[in-house]
């Protein structure tokens, strides 16, 4: 039995790692200046196992085939006026949130992986990161293309990139990635490669894609399938980095544990946006946020942390708080956005009776007791022509940048409120998790660009909220913002489907 041909592993090694070279006249530490400052100890890069074996040649061929199929669907969607076939125009607000909040993260991921793909001493890790970086660039492009069709027919899509860098709620996902990208290369990999792409991806990406599938959004669904065939690679890279770090040196274990604690908590805070999307923004619901959390974090994540326990890694700190929050998160988040819809580039609304019943059924422990009475009250106000908008600006958590509206889990009527003092200044937090993250690196988080503070400091182009929204955020006031009911989006939808009220018809006839 003689080997007539190299196996896949050896061939991949020759096509990637063997392109590396020894540094004969440069100090290795000068070539890779970021490899040591985080405290991570790498004793042998050759122990890195390539998580996937894909050459650029194969990559182009494979991706070209995907693009061809994907863009054929986009064309068909546009030509058939696919925007008219979604379940209900309210659904499109979930897509607005995705385009302004999530798609720019794909671009940040592209930047981040390209950056760390230069910083690692091991060529296997560098090649894998560069490959993922290309995937992320493809994802942001295809997402923009998938959703650009909606921009022709609905409001709020026009300046997503501009808004991502400025608007208050978009600072939540933006600052999450800014935090990861301004960390060292190993923390970035644990934050994005592992915690985000492996542990939490099924709670971020999948709900949007299945939401699209359940609500007739063919373009977004197809994009989702196309991206998911790449995600399998990203997940294996996330797993390899965590195994590699934990096996390289015992001193890495506590550092990795702290990063897992931090990024799990930052991730669950960001998922608050997804929770309200699932429970409130989808006309056809897929599953409740609570159900998704149980399947994807408690079961799947539980199995993962059981395996990680073999390395001495424990469940993330505050996993218990996050589990308790599954009963409350979506309702509290939707309340915050309902309060501040006049300052958002998408619409909110109070659920109708049938939707409230669904929430009661899915959240028997909390919805009727804590949230339904409040929502019914707001609905009454709306019927009386006094739709409630909160005229003040909220205080934001210094770490996650979400308005301080979350409650204690042992008392859902009491707002959770934590403080730290650093160099004589007080900083405010929504939770123990966010306070811990600040306390470990205060010099980083005192620099947080908090949208509300920035407005009050006069850095957002105006003295009053309206000017900020119009000129600094570039929102079309009275069009992009405010309640769905009465919005131009709603009016257009009704025209397409001949849903004018009898009153409107009479007015037109007279």
């Amino acid at each position: 039995m003689t080997a007539t041909k190299l196996n896949l592993k050896d061939r991949y090694r020759l096509l990637t790692r063997d392109l590396d070279w020894e540094y004969s006249y440069q100090n290795r530490k000068d070539v890779f200046p970021m490899e040591e400052f985080e405290g991570i100890k790498i004793t042998d890069w050759s122990k890195w196992e390539d998580p996937f074996r894909l050459t650029m040649d194969a990559y182009w061929k494979y991706q070209a085939e995907k693009e061809k199929k994907l863009y054929a669907i986009f064309d068909a969607f546009a030509q058939n006026n696919g925007q008219q076939n979604v379940k209900d125009a309210r659904y499109v607000n979930a897509i607005k949130l995705f385009l302004t909040g999530v798609s720019p993260l794909e671009y940040q991921a592209y930047n981040g992986f390209a950056h760390v793909g230069r910083q690692f001493g091991g060529v296997g890790a560098r090649v894998a990161c560069q490959m993922q970086s290309l995937d992320e660039l493809r994802h942001v492009q295809t997402q923009i293309h998938a959703m650009s069709h909606y921009n022709k027919h609905f409001d709020g899509f026009q300046d997503f990139a501009h808004m991502h860098d400025r608007v208050w709620y978009l600072s939540v996902p933006k600052s999450f990635f800014d935090d990861a990208r301004s960390a060292g290369p190993f923390e970035f990999m644990v934050a994005i490669g592992f915690s985000f792409e492996y542990v939490l991806t099924n709670l971020l990406f999948v709900p949007f894609m299945s939401g699209a599938a359940y609500n007739g959004d063919m373009a977004t669904v197809t994009f989702g399938f196309s991206a998911q065939s790449d995600e399998a690679r990203h997940m294996t890279l996330g797993l390899e980095i965590i195994k590699f770090l934990l096996e390289q040196h015992p001193d890495n274990v506590p550092i990795v544990q702290r990063w897992i604690n931090k990024w799990f908590w930052r991730g669950t805070r960001m998922l608050a946006l997804v929770s309200m999307m699932m429970d409130y923004m989808l006309p056809n619901r897929v599953m409740s946020w609570k159900e998704a959390w149980e399947v994807y974090f408690e079961e799947a994540g539980g199995a993962l942390f059981k395996d990680l326990a073999r390395y001495g890694i424990e469940m993330p700190a505050y996993a218990g708080t996050a589990i308790a929050e599954k009963e409350h998160l979506s309702h509290q988040t939707w309340s915050i956005f309902y309060n501040y819809t006049h300052a958002a580039a998408f619409h909110t609304w109070m659920p109708d009776e049938r939707e409230m019943d669904w929430l009661s059924e899915k959240y028997p422990n909390t919805f009727d007791k804590y949230y339904r009475p409040r929502f019914e009250h707001w609905r009454e106000m709306e019927r009386a022509g006094e739709r409630f908008y909160n005229p003040t600006l909220p205080m934001l958590c210094q770490t996650c940048q979400i308005p301080m509206g979350f409650t204690e889990m042992n008392d859902p009527t009491l707002v959770s409120y934590r403080q730290s003092v650093y160099k004589g200044e007080r900083f405010n937090f929504c939770s123990d998790g966010c306070k811990d993250i600040f306390d470990h690196e205060p010099e980083k988080y005192v620099q947080s660009w908090l949208p509300v503070h920035q407005i009050y400091q006069g850095n957002c182009g105006g003295a009053d909220v309206e000017t900020v929204l119009k000129d600094y955020y570039k929102m079309n006031l009275g069009v992009d913002n405010m309640d769905y009911r009465g919005s131009p989006d709603e009016q257009r939808w009704k025209q397409w489907h001949n849903l004018q009220s009898a009153e409107d018809k009479l007015k037109k006839a007279s």
Binding site: A3, K243, A303, D307, R310
Partner: protein
Amino acid sequence: MSYEVTVEPTGDVVEVEDGQTILDASLRQGVWLPFACGHGTCGTCKVQVLEGDVEIGDASPFALMDMERDEGKVLACCAIPESDLVIEADVDVDPDFEGLPVEDFTATVESLTNLSPTIKGLRLRLDRPVAFQAGQYINLRLPGVDGARAFSIANVPSDSQYVELHIRRVPEGAATGYIHDVLAEGDELKLSGPYGQFFVRKSAPEDLIFIAGGSGLSSPQSMVLDLLESGDTRKITLLQGARNLSELYNRELFTALAEKHDNFTYVPALDNPEDGDDWAGFSGYVHEAAIDYFDGHFGGHKAYLCGPPPMIDAAITALMRGRLFEKDIFMERFLTAADGAEGASKSALFKKI
């Protein structure tokens, strides 16, 4: 009518009968391919067809995507050749795997002994010599029992006219019940083998740790005896776990070997010794004995684990906490029908653990 399938990168050639799957033919002819479920749902046995025609068979659309079908990927466990083929499989050429062919044998019961109150020693004389690697197993067929049962071979490969098996009685188990209650000397049985990827990586320079529980002593016994027989000079430590003294079988054999060979250490452990056992050895589970003996540091070894799933599980955790990781740990889990239910959700963190 049969077709020749050439497996790259090793260049092995397999003869596949009409209607036979590539995987079945390969395994039977000693060509190992990665596989798991064996019926087209997991995708572990995905291979690339480089030349020739093949019927894809009953592969799940989730395990073999349309795009992969277009690229000529097939699942070896359901693919049936329709011409001579060249396929490429994701196989590492393990320098220690001998790739011995699987054959069918007729065996006669030479002896049946009570090794312990729950474990029988079954020695079978074969109709012709068998070539196997220490640690591998055979599939045994028993009258009136559906399907074959896997048992590890406990004797050394040089004892090639025989296979010796250690068989624990599984409560209400049809096959093990038959062996314990009905089987008699002189009976004839059908078996096939050898199978399995559990063998000593002899080319690896590290010292060796064997951890055995219950009748899982069989493979390690064969492996240790084979190493000592060949004059191997690396340090070899065998840890054997049993419930009490009466279940701790073949102790005299290993105690004597430890006296004879400086490089061999034998550490028996009882987790529940009885009052009459007068036990001066290690009391506790066998993975605890390993932590105790190696002072919690396992790095720089190769470890071989054999026994029931809970023992394997505890041993893996002990080894990993002591900084010996997946690629240095080899294992054979003794699954019974009762273990089938434990298929709770599993993460993708490990490949073989």
